[in-house]
């Protein structure tokens, strides 16, 4: 177990940011922390990094108690913060070199690592540029490079892809998988469920400082009733119709709002067909129709009763 968090409680005044959080991260995995804004992801990471005081609980990393002066543990950790943290006064290459230098003393080795990191985030053309002149996305990439240049054993990434365009985002996500293949364990937080689903081997869903569900994305989806969500747009329905649809087999939740019908069904086949058959039999016209397999959003929705993203 590379990280073991037990009963972690963190309060900001009267606000409980972490509420008896329990987590375990295994060596070699990409562990996703998924949760809406303010669910306590960043707070959890800052506690693990020994930056924040916490009220109760324990955090062990590599089997050791984490403390601000536990340099042995710290030397094997890399961090990509949610806020960009680079020196305005240093150019891209020097920034990476500086942060790498905090971990790696040997000059030649560092040079190699910096070079690798520059290529990793695709900033080859921007080596001598100062952060002020980088666009938001490029800045994010620099931020990532600064955190991972020294090839740490454990990497914390706190929403590293905010404001990065989809193409670079994919590149970064691939890079993260590559880092993982090279042996780094990664703790990745995000509120983009697609991202988390794409790369994480295990996911913890957080809400109000608690871990409300944990498992692989398959496991999480199997946890819930929803097997399929059918959405039909531009359809005019009476109360009676809704009641009839609700009675169809496998349907467990029907909502109707602004002419859009959303039907959630348990994982059986032909759900869509049955609903459409009903509409046709009643000669009710309808617009676009689509059917989705469950997403992590459904998991979140079913557990908390609210959308992961609004």
């Amino acid at each position: 177990m590379i990280i073991k968090i037990e009963n972690l409680v963190k309060r900001y005044g009267s606000l409980v940011a972490l509420d008896h959080l329990n987590l375990e991260v295994k060596e070699g995995e990409i562990f996703g922390l998924l949760g809406p804004n303010g669910s306590g992801k960043t707070t959890a990471i800052n506690c693990m990094l020994a930056l924040l005081k916490y009220d109760r609980g324990s955090i062990r990393i590599f089997g050791e108690e984490m403390a601000p002066d536990n340099y042995r543990v710290k030397s094997q950790i890399g961090v990509v913060m949610q806020d960009v943290a680079v020196f305005e006064e240093l150019n891209v290459q020097d920034n990476i070199d500086y942060f790498c230098g905090l971990y790696v003393k040997d000059k030649n080795k560092r040079k190699e690592l910096v070079e690798e990191a520059v290529r990793f985030v695709g900033l080859e053309e921007y080596r001598k540029i100062y952060p002020k002149k980088l666009s938001g996305g490029l800045l994010r990439r620099l931020n990532i490079a600064c955190g991972i240049a020294h090839k740490p054993r454990l990497i914390f990434m706190d929403e590293p892809t905010v404001a990065v365009d989809p193409q670079s985002r994919n590149k970064i996500l691939e890079g993260i998988c590559e880092l993982n293949r090279q042996g780094s364990t990664i703790v990745y937080t995000s509120h983009y469920m697609e991202e988390v689903e794409q790369i994480c081997s295990r996911i913890a869903i957080m809400d109000h400082g608690r871990c409300i569900a944990l498992g692989t994305s398959e496991e999480l989806k199997n946890m819930i009733k929803t097997g399929e969500t059918v959405t039909i747009e531009a359809v005019i329905l009476e109360e009676e119709d809704l009641a009839r649809i609700r009675e169809l087999p496998h349907v467990f939740d029907v909502s109707y709002k602004d002419g859009t019908l959303t039907v959630r069904c348990t994982g059986a086949r032909h759900n869509l067909l049955r609903i459409l058959e009903y509409l046709q039999s009643r000669k009710i016209p309808f617009g676009r129709v689509f059917s989705e397999l469950p997403t992590l959003n459904d998991v979140f929705l079913e557990i908390t009763g609210k959308q992961l993203r609004d």
């Binding site: 990094l49 924040l52 403390a67 042995r72 943290a85 942060f99 971990y103 000059k107």
Partner: protein
């Protein structure tokens, strides 16, 4: 370590506001002061009128000896004074009778009276000022020289001629010859306090360093806090870089005083460098310390620094030298622990008093406070976790 130091330097130098305000502000203030105070006093410094009074030697029974003594001792002193008079415009000597001299002193026609009574020499002055210090040091200079002379006569009579010649150049008094037009006592005090303030202004550089040490203040610091670098090392690196830059700042100020404003102090500029060195070091250390204490925000701490450095400089006589005199008299200990006052005191020692012991004491006080500040900062940020980031 070297790499860290290099980047610490680069980052600070590129950070205009942090480095250059502590440079520009004292420069600007010095210039303003130069035009308001410096020039006003320009004509104030005059040759010091001095009276010399021969007193009767009372011991009649030993009259013959006394006369000899008068010849050897007193005439030599008068010769010495005359030599100084001819050599420079420092003093103007007049021989007077006792009452006449006292009256002249009261009416400020002369600034001091040398009494010559056989072998005994004494000095009476009416006020404590630069002129009296000069007269005093002429006397001590002579007396130290006389000792040498007598030793030479006793042990190496053959070198006597050489020794007498040396006597004319002996002592600290000669250094005052270099005292130029526009730094009289009070004005010089202003500039000493100014240099003191410039040193303290290093606290803003130090404060910048502290910002990069504390993870609740900047994201950058947070990233450094998670790195496996010993806190003391981080602090010392920042301190070294901050001090390196600040020392250059203070040197620029001194150079500006010397080459542009052409202010002349009694002592050489070179001898003021060590004071600037330690003073500047203290300034940076103070900034790091204040930056590290407590969990208040950046704005509040900057406010504290501005307030503290202003107050300390004020007490050290920056706005009005009388304040320093007043503090010295009523709460002397305050100015022994007020770094601004200690710095300006050290400069005063170099230029006016020529008192190596007191200078040494000043330097020790500054160094000790400096170490205390850095150690304090280290203890504070060593294991620090924050309540909120």
């Amino acid at each position: 370590m070297l790499q860290q130091l290099k980047y610490a330097f680069v980052v600070k130098i590129r950070n205009f506001s942090i480095v250059f305000w502590p440079l520009l502000f004292p420069l600007a203030l010095t210039t303003l002061m130069y035009f308001s105070v410096g020039q006003m006093d320009e004509s104030d410094f005059d040759t010091i009128d001095t009276a010399v009074v021969y007193e009767e030697v009372q011991d009649r029974g030993n009259a013959e000896n006394a006369v000899t003594a008068q010849k050897s001792g007193n005439d030599r002193f008068l010769q010495y004074l005359t030599a100084v008079e001819e050599d420079s415009d420092l003093i103007r000597v007049r021989q007077m009778e006792d009452e006449e001299a006292v009256k002249a002193l009261e009416e400020k026609e002369v600034r001091g009276i040398y009494y010559i009574k056989g072998e005994d020499l004494s000095l009476t002055v009416s006020e404590n000022s630069l002129s009296s210090s000069i007269l005093e040091s002429l006397l001590t200079g002579y007396e130290e020289g006389r000792q040498t002379l007598e030793n030479v006569m006793k042990y190496h009579p053959e070198g006597l001629d050489e020794a007498v010649k040396m006597l004319g150049e002996y002592g600290t008094a000669v250094e005052y010859v270099s005292l130029g037009g526009n730094t009289t006592d009070t004005t010089a005090q202003f500039f000493y306090a100014m240099i003191g303030m410039a040193c303290l202004y290093g606290c803003f550089i130090g404060f910048g360093c502290a910002l990069w040490l504390q993870c609740n203040l900047t994201a950058l610091a947070a990233r450094r806090c998670v790195a496996p670098v010993h806190r003391l090392r981080v602090i010392l690196t920042e301190f070294a870089a901050g001090f390196g830059i600040h020392f250059v700042n203070v040197m620029i100020l001194l150079a500006y005083m010397k080459y542009i404003l052409r202010l002349e102090f009694a002592g050489s500029y070179l001898s003021m460098v060590p004071v600037a060195f330690i003073g500047g070091m203290f300034g940076v250390a103070m900034g790091i310390f204040v930056g590290s204490i407590g969990k208040m925000g950046e704005g509040i701490k900057i406010g504290i620094l501005i307030g503290v450095s202003m107050l300390l400089s004020f007490l050290a006589g920056l706005m009005n030298p009388q304040i320093k005199v007043w503090v010295d008299q009523s709460i002397p200990v305050l100015n022994r622990i007020n770094p601004a006052a200690v710095i300006s005191d050290a400069l005063y020692c170099i230029n006016v008093f020529d008192s190596p012991e007191r200078l040494g004491q000043d330097m020790i006080i500054l160094t000790a406070m400096c170490i205390l500040m850095v150690a304090g900062a280290f203890l504070i940020v060593r294991r620090e976790r924050y309540d909120s980031i």
